[in-house]
Symmetry: C2
Subunit: 235 residues, 2 copies
């Protein structure tokens, strides 16, 4: 709700605010595979996600631990293990680019008003492009899972996140859809992720994308000391 | 509850049923990595699980599709992708064996009475052992997942199943504990799986093993035509 303005003097004419004119602002978007050079941005994005979810007390990641686990030496090819798509934005069209594993998805976004990104400098992309105003706006982290009933792999999405100033513009949908498209291309059977049951907007959004919400399943988690307790029991 | 016996004649002394004598039945158990030779048994076990869960309408796996997806040519090492531990039972001690990736876990189980396994022949193990009465009794299928907050991999357990005649003897716990021990050994942060919310006995069992049940998360699944619809949208 907008803050209340002081009332106009009694004799003044009513103030008519102009309609925002369709000024033709175009934002160009790219979804590409992340590399180890993107880890500093990935670290900041994951931290912002922890803040958004009010779970910073669980946040232990460092740039070093992310690099070591997401991009280890002799890492398996993308899609066979932990994989990140990065969402980037630019006011200039992205040059076409190739990647042996994934051809970046280029699209554009038409806006009435330009987006004011207060963190534009902090999120300047590390990609080596001929255009120089590329900003990292979000990411999706996913990896293979398996359905034994289908005897097929699928993808599990661990994180999907878009920075605040870029939300509500269909960009999260583009990230999720890019994972679904990759799954379909590989002949995979499913894409799965989880949502908090009180997050009604997210549930509605996912259902509109064609997802079923499975009401009966609950996640069981063994971690910390309870996990360590098993180390001495069995092996 | 035992079936009611006919009442004794009025003059007879009260009948005292003998305590079951500890007859020294010992069943030896082994948990080992499955190989492609175990696929026919794995297929039957997954089908039994589908019957148990009343989900046979979702069961599409064949021995060929399981072999192709679980044990593809140039498969990555165990634990880095889809991995199966097989539970085997024998009346003789298992010989010690080595595997470069996982040393089988050998234990024994003391029983008052021998177990009558009506499917003993069908589940005769394909392992090449010096003992010849080895039976496959269950399995656990798991693969790596990832926590971005911890910046650590974990394991996700897709299936855990013990054949009916071997249940309620702590064998499911041994399978789950073997996965937890492997996770702890590898420095992983978590082991996770899902349970149906009405399966109170399973939830109790998992809590006794140290697991937390996360009440708020719901699984979202994109599959079938809804998944295919994205193939034409993004890429």
């Amino acid at each position: 709700m907008a803050a209340a303005a002081p009332p106009p003097p009694p004799t003044a004419a009513p103030i008519t605010l102009p309609e925002p004119t369709p000024s033709g602002h175009t934002l160009f978007t790219r979804i590409r595979l992340a590399t180890i050079d993107d880890v500093p941005h990935i670290h900041k994005l994951i931290h912002q996600m922890a803040v958004f979810e009010r779970l910073t007390h669980l946040f232990e990641a460092t740039t070093a631990s992310l690099a070591a686990t997401l991009f280890p030496p002799n890492a398996p090819p993308p899609f066979t293990s932990f994989t990140i798509f990065l969402l980037e934005l630019s006011s200039s069209p992205f040059p076409p680019s190739q990647n042996p594993h994934f051809t970046p998805v280029l699209k554009s976004l038409h806006l009435d008003l330009p987006i004011d990104d207060p963190e534009k400098e902090a999120f300047r992309s590390s990609a080596n492009d001929s255009i120089n105003d590329v900003t990292v706006g979000g990411f999706v982290l996913f990896f293979p899972n398996y359905s034994s009933f289908l005897a097929k792999p699928g993808f599990y999405i661990e994180d999907i996140f878009v920075r605040e100033c870029y939300r509500k513009k269909g960009l999260g949908k583009r990230l999720l859809s890019a994972v679904a498209a990759q799954a379909a291309k590989m002949g995979y059977g499913r894409v799965e992720w989880v949502v908090l049951d009180w997050n009604v907007n997210a549930i509605k959004f996912y259902e509109q994308m064609g997802a079923q919400i499975l009401p009966e399943w609950r996640i069981c988690r063994l971690t910390g000391e309870a996990l360590q307790a098993h180390a001495h029991v069995s092996l």
